[in-house]
Symmetry: D3
Subunit: 258 residues, 6 copies
């Protein structure tokens, strides 16, 4: 089976650098896949992307060695299994708030006897290879998002869920849930403390922690703290950043038609 | 009829700042439309965009005041008229190499007696208003691309084509045609001289000149020269720029997992 | 934040006139948006429309001042939140039969601390403006459909759900559930009585009531009763009505080839 | 081979009643196909429909006995042949202005030795039956649009083109070309005279004449004159008509919230 | 109402021969519909197909007399009802493991008072006819998949669920759940025994049993045992089989360029 | 630049084994790409595939080492250049009947000074590598279809067109044009003689010959004759073959419900 490069990176003690896809297009996905990210997450939750488009994006990423991942809209087994069959190598599930939810999530990603994932990996077989049925359980990554006060309250029971590979922090939701303004790269001590607590809990249980960042600087700080999966940029935000930089430069120039 | 803001900008003696769309997605188009460009060109030639997707992108741009334009794949009346009916406010036609081609192009964009455009402006009526049939001929912009040695040879006859509003320079093709490496923001004296010659010819005939640039600095230089329509950024290239900047910053940081 | 015109209309003591979209096309949506409705509901339940198409329809409606709304297929948080992120200004949720379901529904539409909506309003930010995070909870409308005997039994507890803005009556399902033939513009006394009871309950609790009608006459009667949101026409039914009228006129004419 | 019902209707001395599709959706197409038209034209010229969507619309129409037709964007062999392979039973070609253009058009619709249509009727074989290769030349209909002054000047040579089955009048373009306002159901004597002249010329040559109408009344008049194919309604216009009727009725009612 | 041919076949004591669709394309669906299957299942679970594409596939199948069926991704009422409204004549629901789940499933497929299906059969009305509201409950087929050890434990209570028409066996999941390798056409005695037990239980309760096969030989054996619905081929697997046969023949030929 | 494996195979004196794609789906394309063909042709002429879908199919093929090729609908520069920009490694152009047409075709595929292809290889750069601008002219393959009596008459002038890499025979059109029934794997002596004549002419001029076959047996015979590119199977026909084999086996079995 084709390796999961995130696992390989982790095995080398390194952190994976992840890109984020919110634009529903296989072309922007392929462009992002050529820039040097270790992995790309197709976001079916807050991205404007649905399953049928996501399949073409998975194909676009598969033209490269970048590891294809997906975030699902919600803890719903139907879409989780569909994306796994389509060849995603990891699922990020939003708002996992309890051990029971974590088990439901992980179970949807694992074949029996480890879970209840239904068998029919049509595209996954092509992408991963003929031994996918035997090795998928050990290759596909499961990330539970810890992003609410309730999840914090249940943190230890969640991170100790058998088969869970990692937690992923959504700083905006975590901030909101803790009574702060929703934002990425948070600096509010309450939120920062929660982030560190989540990292600790995951690390102690031997699973990895990931976090959604908006800048390289913050991501580097998080990696230094111990995070092993950092999102550093999204396609749509990159577009905005680039456009603003260019238009800013235009306005700073001499009178337009001197 | 809704104004063509490029004409308004020109009327004020200013240059229009244009963005370029190569990604086939109404979401990236809408995102670009919110950044402050005066106009956006949906590129059906080198962009990976076909008509059906272009319609949704025209709609996305129409959620803002940005002027929607399109570049067609080739001088073919079918697609030119389809895009006009869909509400585009300007057509950029590649490789217009002779007066005859210029007339064929302009004629496809104008209703009789000025041209041979067929009548049926279904979406254009919604976008522009009920007086579109009366005012379209004076509102819709026609840009002929001057980008070959042959077009240079026929330059004066092309720029004097009745109904032609502007020329648009594709520096890569122009460079190639003059025996240079294809590139944007060209500095080769042969190409630069050709660019200035085209600008001159257009200006003398009282029509505008536009040029495809890859940087704000070059665009500003072109505006200073007299260009009145400069493309300063494309969506796909913006994505690449932003990703490289972020990944470069990641690599420049301290050891990833110090 | 861009106003929710339905709230504005309600603030003026008026009723909103709503159109219904069942055809999966951004063009028919844009056409409908130009006819003068106050709002349009994209129906992802009984309409043949899925999320990816709905996004292009939201964009099409956003080219006008018409308020964009959506009906979701079922009480499932994933699709509710995806549509909110895509910029819908109201969610109609089918078959809300209990207080618990009403709370689950409303919670999915509200950011903490009022609910559990996850944060990431990508397109909503563009459509509504930069203060969407602060004002969304007070702008986005929540309509719970009351259309079963069970919902009638739980009526008071449903309409008193904090954060619920309105109820919406589906006369066909309500009729079926009460043992009558499914139809719009119902006249069966049992159904009419239920409709009035729902209106009463909502009004007493200070929330609004809406109803799905098939004719202007019935809608006007409902408005006179106190309804403040009436659907008066769907795109697909309008197509049928228009075609039948034309073909009927053809048949009533003189012998076709006299 | 499945019959071409338009030919059958003509064989009975009757006129075919045609509907028009401008909305790019297989659902609106299927809805229209259930209303009782003899044929439906998918408009790839002024409709907002491209080939890939048109295929799904041809399939939708094929769920009924309605004859599927298409109008192409322009006299371009590529799209004509693609639509024939996809199973259309008739092609309407815009702006056929000369005998040479008429021959180019008809040739694209006929297999050798009658024309130069390339062989590969993939979906047509499924729709029409296994003897399509033998019978297509005699079944598929060719309509040349006569809608310019130039075409009028060449009228007799056009209508006598071997293999041409019918002419089709676009009153808007014809009006424009004759110096009148573009409109359907024209009453200007100059346009009316041209319409009658076209009908005469076609009839004398033994081919049929069709015309694009906007009302049953006008269509009936045209049939009485001798037209044997009348478009009586388009989907998008039907939608507008129905919406305006409903909203007009709402406004005419008592004060909205008396 | 248009008959459900599977019910008709069953009424004649015969078994229905079913084809399987995993490719998201209305063209491959239409091609399959012309080959002679009694029914076709559009697989939204393991197939790479989502709702919007499934609608065009339902239309494609509706160009023939083949009965259109669908498998849903999971026991989620939203997608079940959407597919019924779109005109599917049967739903196969995966992993129905208990009586409660079976009731939830069947209820989603039936109008009150037999279930809680919401009313709005837009395309179903066109496909089935105007009496769909009255007859749908008795026409649409419900298949519960029995494919886990848990379902086996609850077998009798599941098969006796009122309104359930049939069970359907997924041999791969059943094998996995029983500790065997996932495969079709299973021969492991443990799995074969379970298959026979399911058939028996269904037969005793007077409902039908179906099974997913990979070969005609196995399907015939299953029919001989008493199964009345056998899937004998999927589109994607058919493609693989055909390609391998051709490429194998190429390799067995003489040296390629002797 | 990524090699063109067809050129590599030719360099080894071997023949390339080609598969054909007529189904508009990136999934069936990816499935075909995993079966062992040397190259795959996406057929935009007789296949039911348009540009936007073709892009996703090119991406799907690019997940493997299979060489991606396309057949265009007609000799129209717009679509030829769009497909080249999208990364196709070869263009097959139908009905090239004269030297002038051959030059128009080849010129559209080559950058100046060898041709007039416009510069903007957005996806091609990603697929092929950064030196695409320098090497594309020598890598991309041009196939002119010889399939009419007129092309036979101009055979020598066509095959000697500078920059033309190969001819490709469409036996159905060739048969039709010679007065025979259209079919693949032709045996009519007149057609066979023409095929051999084309092969001879190409070989003498030092370019390759390819042919569209329907069976491995015929393809092997053609390779033995000297053809160096043989299409041996299409996706849609493969589907039909597989379905017929399975359903035939079902019918040959014992009584269905003995």
């Amino acid at each position: 089976m084709r390796e999961n490069r995130i696992r390989t990176i982790w095995g080398q003690g390194e952190a994976a650098i992840n890109g984020w896809l919110a634009i529903p297009s296989s072309l922007s996905a392929e462009t992002m896949a050529h820039q040097g990210f270790d992995s790309l997450v197709i976001d079916l939750q807050h991205g404007l992307i649905d399953y049928q488009t996501a399949v073409t994006m998975l194909q676009a990423i598969s033209t490269t060695v970048v590891t294809p991942m997906t975030r699902v809209p919600w803890l719903e087994p139907g879409i989780i299994m569909k994306l796994l069959d389509a060849g995603t190598y990891g699922i990020i599930c939003p708002m996992v708030n309890s051990r029971e939810e974590a088990e439901t999530f992980v179970g949807a990603c694992r074949y029996a006897p480890k879970g209840y994932r239904s068998f029919g990996p049509l595209r996954a077989l092509m992408y991963a290879g003929g031994d996918y049925p035997q090795k998928a359980n050990d290759t596909v990554l499961t990330f539970a998002m810890i992003e609410t006060a309730k999840a914090l309250a249940n943190l230890d029971s969640i991170v100790s869920t058998p088969g869970l590979d990692a937690v992923y922090i959504g700083p905006s939701d975590l901030s909101l849930s803790l009574g702060c303004e929703p934002r990425l790269d948070p600096v509010d001590p309450k939120v920062v403390a929660a982030i560190e607590r989540i990292l600790d809990a995951a690390t102690k249980r031997g699973i990895k922690a990931g976090i959604h960042c908006a800048s390289a600087a913050y991501a580097q700080k998080m990696i230094a703290l111990g995070f092993r999966f950092t999102t550093v940029m999204s396609d749509n935000q990159g577009l905005i950043t680039a456009a603003r930089a260019t238009l800013g430069a235009m306005r700073q120039g001499a009178t337009k038609t001197a």
